[in-house]
Assembly symmetry: C2
Homo-oligomer: 258 residues x 2
């Protein structure tokens, strides 16, 4: 049986946190054909809310140190403020969205990251993904909106990187759907020259990526995203694109299997 197509869009960075760009993104997202889902970040909003509450933000290698106070902040901001505003805006566009975390439906379970050199606190590493009920909702034209939070099934929420949520969800959905994962951020794609937005690489397989990485052509910040993406392709995701809002439908860099 041919699988139905599912487009899973991950939106992060400024795109999700500035009112105008979010409205633009959601409008374009609403026009994508077929079955679809959204994963969002919200780090800037969390940092701003933490600051208003007098809680200091500490980042190590781009990851947020999440103590009990910061866990409350990200639970409020990712699970409440950002997630529910996206849902309400999608409903206004006629899309039947539902906003959830990994704790909801137990769809994504994690363990608290073991402490080696750094104690990240309440940060989760994914251990199990179950999209049975989400598949049921997707078949009913419901649009899942996934916040970057998971839980340990022992009563605690855990902070999880939104790119990781997107890749893990895409792999799980790939059992039932032909999944295209689209990373939507500020840049128009993977760039040959990180200073030149017109130097988008149209397509990239793993061998080409490794060659570009060795030559130092690819911006360091893109490397974990690309490593995770190629891993997701190996695990069953049909296609991955990296693009910005104007490229949502067809633009950007397409990652290909060998």
């Amino acid at each position: 049986m041919t699988k139905q197509k599912l487009t899973l869009v991950k939106v992060g960075g400024k795109v999700v946190e500035e009112k105008d760009s979010l409205a633009d993104l959601l409008d374009r997202f609403s026009k994508l054909e077929g079955i679809k889902a959204l994963v969002h970040g919200g780090g800037r909003s969390a940092t701003a809310m933490a600051e208003r509450l007098g809680i200091e933000t500490k980042m190590v290698d781009g990851r947020r140190i999440t103590d009990q106070a910061m866990l409350e902040v990200v639970t409020m901001v990712y699970g409440g403020l950002v997630n529910k505003n996206i849902v309400a805006q999608l409903q206004a566009l006629g899309l039947n969205a539902i906003g959830i975390t990994g704790a909801d439906l137990n769809y994504m379970q994690a363990v608290k990251r073991p402490v080696k050199d750094i104690d990240y606190g309440y940060v989760g590493d994914i251990v199990a993904v179950n999209v049975e009920e989400l598949n049921l909702l997707l078949d009913k034209q419901v649009i899942p909106v996934l916040a970057p939070l998971s839980h340990d099934k022992q009563g605690s929420l855990l902070n999880v990187n939104a790119d990781t949520i997107a890749a893990e969800a895409a792999v799980a959905f790939a059992e039932h759907f032909d999944v295209e994962l689209v990373f939507c951020f500020e840049k128009p794609g993977v760039l040959e020259d990180s200073e030149d937005d017109s130097s988008v690489i149209a397509s990239l397989n793993h061998t080409q990526f490794k060659a570009l990485q060795e030559s130092g052509a690819i911006h360091a910040g893109m490397i974990p995203k690309l490593d995770n993406s190629f891993a997701a392709i190996k695990r069953g995701v049909s296609k991955i694109r990296i693009t910005n809002i104007p490229g949502l439908q067809i633009g950007g860099t397409t990652l290909l299997p060998e």
Copy 2:
């Protein structure tokens, strides 16, 4: 065809906001047999968070004036902090919970309350309830956890009283289920003497309630809850009980049709 029983528990006041009493409530809730759902408040947590953010809480007749800044607070606290912590704790108890607002699945739509004498701001009056997708999830043993928020289907969330959410959801579920609605709060039931917790009235029909109201025996704070409850019974809810945590399974005051 005989309808299946659904127990909808509304928990509010201190019960939901103190760690130990919430854990006790959720433990007892997890032991209720059959299909079930939970509605929660969170007003005290919202007031506390608003205070930390330097936002003043204004109440009129027990209702929260909800300007833009307060809407952000209740969206974070009800939709995020309180809701997701309950979901994570239910998952730890082996219950497959999903936490949502009225915007999610567009299950409860409201209009911003028209300004008469008082401008309540972003407070909603319910205009439409659709539990089609929730019924599907309930049939799969999923436990909906409903936050006291709705939306206007024009992109704005709206603050809604949790008792109202509970009554409207109960009426909507009553089309497919035999619904028992249980209001769980600090007092053991409707009291003949508001100073004496042992004076619980075991059962009450509408005529008896009106007689007690006229004699001044019923505490003023209970009257809107009882008015709403009897209205819900007229609209198809099979049974309503008002009780505290120890009475969750069988105790408290049972409201009856005539």
